[in-house]
């Protein structure tokens, strides 16, 4: 160690800012695309779990248990180094990472959706049916919009988890924040500074998303409270 150097020296972090911010943007993009795919997959699996067909329920149950139980790191090396090699597929790192993140999150989200759907008052479904709507329309136009309101907070948490999980994508070579931080920390021999800064960026992302979710939640709950008042008045 050169004792003439300052104890904390963030100049190399500062000069590497464009690379780090690009890595951060890639991480956020991966998390966002993954969560969108996970919402679609999770919804399908949730509907399967609530299906009248027993075999569909079972498949969905096993799917959920599996992806909720497997550690991301194990899943990602299995997909990227195991499955891809065994199947002879040349899977680029970014799609592989996004698919893995999406599968993992869809397991959690299907449970969220399921409980959200179950939380919708049964009377709503019965009323829809009584009005002669088909099961599909009741689900699409009555149950899901109401369930969506309930699941906003857990959905936000899942997004936060996905953002944090992108750090593991560095293992397979996705050029995201952690991958760049590792390379730069080795280059400048300043691991403390680079990892501290990476941590702060993740913290920033998490705080912004959490704040956004709680604002959205307040807006929607204010709306739903209003609706309730109107219904009460009508009654």
């Amino acid at each position: 160690m050169n004792s003439a150097q300052p104890f904390f020296d963030f100049t190399s972090v500062w000069s590497s800012m464009p690379i780090l911010l690009k890595g951060f943007a890639i991480a956020m993009a991966c998390a966002t695309v993954a969560i969108i795919i996970a919402i679609l997959l999770g919804l399908i699996v949730a509907l399967m779990r609530l299906s009248r067909v027993k075999i569909l329920r079972w498949i969905a149950f096993i799917y959920t248990q599996f992806f909720r139980g497997i550690p991301l790191y194990v899943l990602i090396i299995w997909v990227y180094f195991g499955l891809a090699i065994a199947a002879g597929v040349n899977l680029p790192a970014i799609p592989a990472g996004i698919i893995t993140l999406a599968l993992l999150n869809s397991g959690y989200l299907s449970e969220t959706f399921r409980s959200g759907i179950l939380a919708v008052n049964k009377g709503q479904i019965e009323a829809g049916m009584a009005l002669g709507l088909s099961r599909r329309n009741v689900m699409l136009h009555i149950v899901l919009p109401q369930a969506f309101r309930v699941i906003i907070p857990p959905l936000g948490n899942q997004y936060v988890d996905a953002i944090k999980d992108t750090a593991i994508l560095s293992i397979i070579g996705v050029p995201e924040l952690m991958r760049e931080s590792k390379a730069l920390a080795n280059l400048y021999y300043r691991p403390f500074e680079f990892y501290t800064f990476a941590g702060l960026l993740y913290l920033f992302a998490v705080l912004v998303v959490s704040r956004g979710v709680s604002v959205l939640e307040k807006k929607l709950s204010a709306h739903s409270a209003q609706t309730t008042v109107i219904i009460d008045v009508l009654n």
Binding site: Q65, P71, Y73, V74, I77, W78, F81, A167, M178
Partner: protein, 224 residues
């Protein structure tokens, strides 16, 4: 198709090494959990402190450590802290410490919820009987909070167990490390990682199931 040759016999051959690796994963996660319990309880007590400064410091620490990915924490501890402060952590210690810090932030939330769930009348009753503050905490509040705290703690542990799989990246010779090492020699990554995956799913699903059972049991006792 390519020329990948499946060879499941490799699992049988390296089973002792894989199990030894699994044991190390369990050890790291358990030591990490022990640190998380102590750290989390301290943070929770800080967050419920009557002193405003203590409260905001504890709240801040919880928020920060919950928001930083475990993977970043691991590198921060193992490479960052050790180089900066000249503490030489072994890979195992760094792994357990990173798990303990992250897990502690999650446990702070769990303990806080548990402590708040205890009826305030219990504390008032203890005060009225002239019991000291620390005795009240350890003999009246804490045992009652424990009932609320145990099931979510098991879930935090499941999270740490899953997180513990990444310690192989700093060179802890856990199950994944063994699988990687063996597959380099035998070229059977699919078989080895599949087995590792199945083992972890079996472990986490059964522990989560146990937590679910506990929750129902303890919940039943509570309502009586």
């Amino acid at each position: 198709m390519n020329s990948y040759k499946f060879d499941w016999a490799v699992i049988d051959k390296y089973l002792p090494e894989l199990l030894k690796g699994l044991w190390i994963t369990l050890e790291v996660s358990l030591v990490g959990m022990a640190i998380a319990l102590i750290f989390g309880l301290l943070l929770a007590m800080g967050r419920l402190s009557p002193l405003r400064l203590t409260r905001s410091v504890a709240n801040g620490i919880t928020q920060v450590f919950r928001s930083i990915p475990l993977f970043v924490m691991l590198f921060w501890v193992y490479y960052g802290l050790s180089l900066k402060f000249h503490v030489l952590f072994t890979e195992f210690q760094a792994g357990a410490l990173a798990l303990g810090i992250t897990g502690g932030a999650y446990m702070a939330e769990v303990f806080r919820g548990g402590l708040l769930a205890v009826d305030p009348g219990q504390r008032e009753a203890a005060m009225a009987m002239g019991i000291s503050k620390s005795t009240t905490f350890f003999h009246v509040i804490f045992p009652q909070a424990l009932r609320v705290v145990v099931p979510p703690s098991v879930n935090v542990y499941v999270g740490l167990l899953k997180g513990a799989t990444i310690v192989s990246v700093i060179g802890v010779s856990d199950m994944i490390y063994v699988a990687q090492y063996v597959s380099l020699q035998t070229f059977t990554p699919f078989e080895l990682y599949s087995v590792a995956g199945i083992v972890f799913v079996a472990l986490t699903v059964s522990i989560s199931g146990f937590a679910w059972m506990l929750e129902r049991r303890l919940g039943r006792g509570r309502s009586e």
